[in-house]
């Protein structure tokens, strides 16, 4: 039982933080939003830092690191509300490395690590809501090769991606495929509420490579990697939101005094601090359970995402309120943190959804280790 970061982990954090502070200021971000919400150059810089290959083994050109390192990195990206979807690289690295045949690994893992290949999870369907077992996309085998057909929504940077991890029903059972951009793949991109980019991606008899027949297990694992990343990203965004709010409260004057002197607002801030620390605790928990057996992992990740959902909404809304008018303007950076926190709540299952997951997965025993 030890929650200290190693020196290596602290160095990783410093490196990412430095890049965010120096290389990813609010104006650069604003320009990226205007330009459509995704910047391949920025993504390339993340790759140069080694981040896209964080979960890619060293012999495939990556850093071969684990969930705690992933958490550290995502916290820092969250702190900078970085638009480029690094979580997708973590998912792709973990899933391909964990489930794919060697040929797929050899072809794609180095590209993911180098940033040359942007591989994203394309799983959301219109009828599924947040369920993972609802899937209408299909895969057919013809002459030894697979073809995938179906439509996937809200695919992160989906019109910029080089390949997709696509769950589809093969012979009635959910399998997971890798589909490279090409014939039979069309993507319709748009901006998302946080200023980032996503796309509706249509697959029409698109050539596909089988990642695993055990698609549901792989998809659940992929989403859990995504949840842990989202939790950490949320913690980073929360930390910065808290900092902005405290600074504002100590600057802004009303009735001749700073608003930080009003007890009712101070107590609100205390409640926010509570949510902040609960969120951080549960983000640790999520990452530390990411390599646990599936049933235990799913239970833990649901608990974490539920807590994060509560915290992100509470802190986001309270921060806007404490800022007053300035908090609802586009010009002020704080409103962008609020939108990021809102989107993270809706990502990989919202709060009510995960309450349901926690509720249905409850056991007789209680606590962190249960």
């Amino acid at each position: 039982m030890d929650f200290d970061f190693s020196d290596d982990q602290e160095q990783l954090r410093d490196a990412v933080r430095k890049w965010v502070d120096r290389g990813y200021d609010f104006e650069r971000r604003r320009a990226a939003v205007k330009a459509g919400g995704f910047d391949r150059k920025t993504y390339g810089e993340l790759a140069e830092l080694g981040l896209t290959g964080l979960y890619v083994p060293e012999d495939h050109g990556g850093m071969g690191m684990g969930p705690v390192e992933g958490m550290v990195v995502m916290e820092e990206l969250g702190r900078g509300i970085v638009l480029e979807p690094l979580a997708q690289a973590l998912i792709a690295g973990a899933v391909i490395n964990g489930y794919a045949p060697d040929a797929v690994k050899s072809e794609w893992l180095p590209k993911i690590a180098s940033g040359e290949g942007l591989v994203v999870l394309a799983y959301q369907e219109r009828k599924a809501r947040y369920r993972l077992d609802v899937c209408e996309a299909t895969a057919m085998q013809a002459g030894g090769s697979w073809k995938v057909s179906g439509t996937k929504s809200i695919v992160a940077a989906g019109d910029q991606a080089d390949a997709y991890l696509v769950p589809a029903k093969a012979n009635g059972k959910l399998a997971l495929f890798l589909v490279a951009k090409g014939a039979g793949v069309s993507a319709n991109g748009y901006t998302t509420m946080d200023g980032g980019r996503a796309a509706e991606v249509k697959f029409q008899d698109a050539a596909a490579t089988l990642v695993t027949q055990d698609g549901l297990a792989a998809l659940e694992h992929a989403v859990d990697v995504g949840i842990a990343a989202t939790c950490a990203e949320g913690v980073g965004a929360i930390d910065k939101t808290m900092q902005l709010t405290a600074e504002y409260m100590n600057t802004r004057k009303q009735f001749g005094v700073t608003i930080a002197s009003f007890q009712a607002l101070r107590h609100r801030m205390a409640d926010m601090k509570m949510q902040q620390e609960l969120a951080r605790s549960m983000s640790y928990y999520a990452s530390l359970k990411l390599n646990a057996p599936a049933e235990e992992r799913r239970r833990a990740l649901a608990r974490a995402k539920y807590q994060l959902g509560v915290a992100m909404r509470f802190i986001g809304q309270a921060s806007v309120q404490l800022h007053g008018g300035i908090g609802v303007t586009d010009e002020y950076v704080g409103s962008h943190y609020f939108k990021k926190l809102t989107q993270l709540e809706l990502t990989f299952g919202d709060t009510l959804h995960h309450l349901g997951e926690v509720s249905s997965r409850m056991q007789d025993t209680a606590g962190v280790f249960a």
Binding site: G325, V328, S335, T347
Partner: protein, 393 residues
């Protein structure tokens, strides 16, 4: 005690309903029912339709050309408009400045300004808030110096809602720095086309242009545009604030939006999900309770017995409900609330919305936009201060 409206009141409601059905353009109500972007033309078109009927100033007494309705009638009128999907009446002219002109303006001012307000021809803006004033309105700094028969106005207003369309603006300006901050304030009407007036948009977190900064650089305002006496403006402003009672709760719109929330929840297959449905059920009780609170206030106003001074409660509960239904709509959309396609938030977009769920397009933006409701009009924290005062002294 009786919950039902009187037969006369019900007849009144039916008449309003019939007229609205006839006169509210469907292309406008469709936008309202779907939270789509309303243009200036939409708003002004509807204002003029009401103006022609004599109902834009629906709270006005008969002597000024209004219908002379009592509190219940006004409520029923507001409810019928809201349920039918009429745009909210832009209040700055008919609801805010007009009562001040009626109460404190001179005959000349009344004759000059009221007709344009009543008809919907002249668009008014409000000049109260300033950068830094916030909940402490009396700290305002915009100066108006009397020079002969003119005032020279310098300073800045902010959060000027729809000020980009404004013809005229009513302002609180500082004409004296002596005494308490409240005592040196005057109430001035200002032609926004005057030299030295600059309107700069403030883009909100939802991407919309709804409010503005307005700068005054040596703007000349004829002294005849002063309402009442110099340095008495704070009194007039408070009169204005004490108007607008029950509508602050916006319960009628909440009822319409609750019905819409149920439609969205059905379409998204969460209406029969007990976990989500319970959240709607809680909101339904909130709205019924708020409506009962509003009706109690109306009844007290009607009878004159047992005045119920709970405007702060109406503001808090009303704004929390507004935020909650927009939040639940967004949550009902689930992952499909994440796409944020500006063009899809205006009527008539022909693009492909993700999953074909076009109705969800404006939900997140509406949720973001509604965060303002607990901040403006006296933040909910200020309202709690006031309520506590009534309970604890």
């Amino acid at each position: 005690m009786d919950l039902a409206f009187t037969p006369e009141e019900q007849k009144f409601r039916q008449d309003i309903r019939a007229w609205v059905r006839e006169n509210l353009p469907k292309e406008i109500s469709d936008k309202v029912h779907n939270s789509l972007h309303l243009t200036r033309e939409d708003m002004q078109r509807w204002a003029k339709i009401l103006g022609k009927k004599g109902w834009l100033g629906y709270g006005w007494p008969k002597e000024f050309g209004g219908p002379g309705w009592n509190a219940v009638q006004k409520h029923l009128f507001e409810e019928e408009l809201a349920l039918a999907g009429a745009p909210r009446i832009v209040p700055f002219g008919p609801v805010m400045v007009a009562p001040v002109i009626m109460a404190f303006g001179n005959a000349e001012q009344q004759k000059r300004f009221l007709p344009g307000i009543a008809s919907g021809e002249v668009w008014w803006s409000q000049g109260y808030s300033e950068p830094g004033s916030g909940s402490d309105l009396a700290s305002l700094k915009t100066r108006a110096e009397r020079k002969g028969d003119k005032y020279i106005v310098n300073g800045q207003k902010t959060w000027t809602t729809l000020g980009q369309y404004g013809d005229w603006m009513f302002n609180l300006v500082r004409t004296s720095t002596e005494g308490k901050p409240q005592t040196g304030i005057s109430f001035l009407l200002l032609d926004m086309k005057s030299k030295g007036v600059t309107v700069r948009p403030i883009i909100m977190l939802d991407g919309g242009h709804e409010v503005n900064e307005v700068f005054f650089d040596n703007v000349e305002v004829p002294a005849e545009n002063l309402i009442g006496e110099e340095n008495k403006g704070w009194t007039y402003a408070k009169h204005l604030l004490s108007h607008e009672r029950t509508n602050i709760a916006d319960v009628n719109r909440a009822k319409r939006e609750l019905e819409r929330l149920k439609r969205i929840a059905k379409a998204e297959n969460v209406y029969d999900d007990q976990r989500f449905r319970d959240e709607i059920a809680k909101l339904e009780v909130d709205i019924v309770a708020l409506e009962m609170l509003v009706l109690r206030v109306l009844s007290a106003e009607k009878s004159g017995k047992n005045a119920l001074d709970i405007a702060g409660l109406l503001k808090i509960k009303g704004s929390e409900i507004q935020q909650r239904y927009t939040e639940l709509m967004m949550l009902a959309g689930g992952p499909y609330s994440v796409p944020f396609i500006k063009e899809a938030m205006a009527a008539g977009w022909q693009g492909d919305f993700p999953g074909g769920a076009l109705g969800l397009a404006p939900l997140a933006a509406t949720y973001f936009n509604m965060r303002k409701t607990t901040i403006y009009g006296g933040s909910n924290e200020v309202q709690r201060n006031i309520i506590a005062q009534t309970v604890l002294g």
